[in-house]
């Protein structure tokens, strides 16, 4: 480990110096990324920390008076009619909805994304980039236009219903528009590349001799996949899951358009506080709660999964 206090014997000293040097280089190399994020993301968020402890301004923004009301009302709210203090069940049920949607989206993109990434990564040399492009180019179009096009697929007289009717699988068109199915479908669609690309990056490097050895070892391919391949591509799968799960927690354009907007997502709830609700401190507190929860989960996750490789 980083032992700056190594004993002053010559070899130890040298090694410690080299280690320090190495850490310095590593910090320096991380510096541009950290600096950009500090300036244009994490740093400005400090404003939100401050705002969460202020009173809401009359017409949006904040008043410079200390208040913990924002934080309290994340979990507890006074009933507007009988004045009793109770759990903010609206916030909890909205959070729960977002959480389950994110989980479903992550699972679906995993089930579709891993085979797709595998398929792309096993194309011959020089053709893989082509397939990669092929899967990202649709996402060069506008998110909203794309979402509206998805809606066109699933409406009562949409393509899917027409096909199903034609082949006689159903007699009546299925109501898919404005349903949870529509939200799940749309979210998985939108977030698929976020799963495929990191998994691809991991599979592409796979040593297929290992896989063959595994096939020799285990009779079933599924077993080989589970025991040998999956552990090898795990970093990609983890990266993909993070990239899908966390942003989908705060997503709201897709759920809103496809779900018909009857129910709020956590992202909408926060947006409401900064918009028509004019309660910036509550908005700030809600989002910091989300951020801290996710961050703790992530750090825990990374500590548990990252490999401690050193000099391969």
């Amino acid at each position: 480990m980083s032992d700056a206090t190594a004993s002053p014997t010559a070899p130890g000293e040298l090694e410690a110096e080299a280690l320090r040097q190495d850490h310095r280089t590593r910090w320096l190399m991380s510096l541009p990324a950290i600096a950009i994020i500090l300036c244009a993301a994490a740093g400005p968020l400090m404003v939100m920390v401050v705002y969460s402890f202020l009173a809401p301004g009359d017409y949006g923004n904040v008043k410079w008076e200390f208040s913990t009301e924002g934080w309290v009302s994340v979990l507890l709210q006074r009933d507007i009619f009988d004045g009793t203090l109770a759990w903010a069940d609206a916030h909890l049920s909205i959070f729960w909805r977002s959480l389950s949607l994110s989980l479903i989206t992550t699972v679906v993109t995993l089930l579709i994304g891993v085979p797709t990434a595998w398929f792309i990564a096993t194309r011959p040399d020089g053709k893989r980039e082509f397939w990669l492009f092929l899967i990202t180019v649709p996402f060069w179009t506008n998110l909203l236009v794309r979402t509206i096009a998805i809606q066109e697929l699933i409406r009562a007289e949409g393509v899917i219903n027409l096909i199903l009717l034609k082949i006689g699988l159903i007699q009546e068109p299925i109501q898919m528009m404005f349903t949870n199915f529509a939200i799940g479908f749309g979210m998985s669609y939108v977030y698929l590349p976020l799963m495929v690309l990191p998994v691809y990056a991991a599979v592409e490097k796979l040593d297929f001799r290992l896989v063959e050895a595994a096939h020799d070892l285990y009779a079933s391919r599924w077993k080989a996949f589970r025991l040998i391949i999956l552990p090898l591509i795990k970093p990609g799968v983890i990266a993909g899951s993070i990239l899908v799960f966390i942003p989908s927690l705060g997503a709201y354009v897709t759920p809103r358009v496809l779900g018909g907007g009857k129910n709020l997502m956590f992202g909408n709830l926060i947006e409401l506080q900064f918009g028509q609700g004019r309660n910036w401190p509550l908005g700030a507190a809600l989002s910091l709660t989300l951020m801290v929860a996710v961050m703790i989960a992530l750090i825990f996750y990374v500590r548990a999964t990252s490999r401690e490789t050193h000099n391969g």
Binding site: Y59, Q77, G261, R278
Partner: protein, 361 residues
């Protein structure tokens, strides 16, 4: 971008008589005089609702004044307010809704540009001069106004449509096919008036009825979404809460669609053009305010977004189909039910937000 009726453009051209030509030249020279009088103003940055500004209007303004106009969009009053309040935005003109204008003024964000002293002010319809949100029009010029009412596809329901019961207590035929626009102020306004309350009421008993009524009614809705012209036209949706201009476009795509003005009361709104206090080009901005009070130019605004403007004599230049449209011309007996929305007190606003959150939890 908007479906122009075939006759529209030619009709407009023939009406372009000598008199208007003279007026145009006059307007142009006056605008130029304003420009020449102020600093060298050759730019104008307009911050307006998306898809709300007729490109033809801007071209005409640029041609007449030589000012180079840039348009930037916003999608909500709150975003616009937050951005301008933060500063450093670079905008000259903003187009807030009436219920927000008092906030803009009290926060000191608007320049007192005195449209009431401008040359074309005489064209403003007298009913829009002494308005609640800007008495005597010291800051703002009317852009467009409209209402929030109900939309019904009469093929599926042929009863009375001039009532909020369409979405608050829907007839069986319409259950499960209703869409309500997710606009807190409008929906709360409609629901409060449905239960006989006043705008911005803080009568808790009534508000409890409002909340319970909305929560109960929501079970019979399909969605709470914007941008549903296609879904109504294609009959995926049969009824709901909507704006008049948008319903007008729906009807053009599907003639069974009708617009109702709830007799229990419905919100009216007017978006108004104001000059920002920290505008870089205040003279150009004032020239624009004056420019749009010209009837012919105001007609261009309406022709595009399909809402009425507040300028006398603009009808003459408007598309035929807008003159008689029920969506644009409010029936006499329902006029009194229309109420302009107000800025509610912060406390009341908090209660409304809570009800809104409960509705969508």
């Amino acid at each position: 971008m908007i479906p122009f009726q075939p006759g529209t453009e030619t009709g407009g051209a023939t009406k372009f008589n000598k008199e208007t030509k003279m007026k145009t030249i006059l307007a142009a020279t006056s605008a130029l005089a304003l420009v020449a009088g102020g600093a060298v103003a050759e730019e104008l940055n307009i911050y307006n609702w998306g898809n709300y500004t007729n490109p033809k209007l801007i071209e005409k303004f640029e041609a007449e004044t030589g000012i180079d106009v840039t348009i930037t969009d916003y999608d909500s009053n709150d975003t616009a307010l937050a951005k301008v309040k933060a500063g450093g935005h670079g905008f000259d003109i903003v187009v807030p809704s009436n219920s927000y204008v008092p906030i803009w003024i009290s926060e000191g964000l608007l320049l007192e540009s005195r449209p009431d002293q401008m040359e074309n002010f005489e064209n403003v319809d007298p009913q829009w001069v002494d308005v609640e949100w800007d008495p005597g029009r010291h800051y703002t010029v009317p852009w467009q106004w409209g209402s929030t009412g109900v939309v019904v596809n009469t093929k599926y329901y042929d009863g009375d449509i001039d009532t909020s019961a369409i979405f608050m207590d829907p007839p069986d035929e319409l259950v499960g096919k209703i869409n309500v626009v997710p606009e807190m102020g409008d929906v709360m306004g409609l629901a409060i008036m449905y239960y006989g309350g006043e705008r911005c009421t803080d009568d808790m008993e009534l508000l409890k009825k409002v909340r319970d009524g909305l929560v109960e009614a929501k079970k019979k809705w399909l969605g709470m979404d914007y941008g549903n012209i296609e879904k109504f036209a294609k009959e995926d949706l049969w009824a709901g809460v909507n704006w008049n201009g948008s319903t007008f476009r729906m009807r053009l795509a599907n003639e069974d669609i009708a617009y109702g003005y709830p007799k229990e009361g419905y919100p009216l709104w007017m978006d108004s053009v104001a000059v920002l206090k920290d505008a870089q080009n205040p003279e150009a901005a004032k020239a624009f305010q004056n420019f749009i009070m010209e009837p012919e130019n105001a007609a261009l605004i309406s022709e595009f977004a399909r809402y009425a403007n507040g300028i006398k004599g603009s009808e003459e230049f408007m598309p035929e189909d807008m003159m008689s449209a029920r969506e644009i011309v409010i029936p006499e007996d329902l006029k009194a039910a229309g109420k302009f929305m107000k800025t509610c007190s912060p406390e009341t606003q908090q209660i409304y937000t809570r009800i809104w959150t409960d509705l969508q939890k």
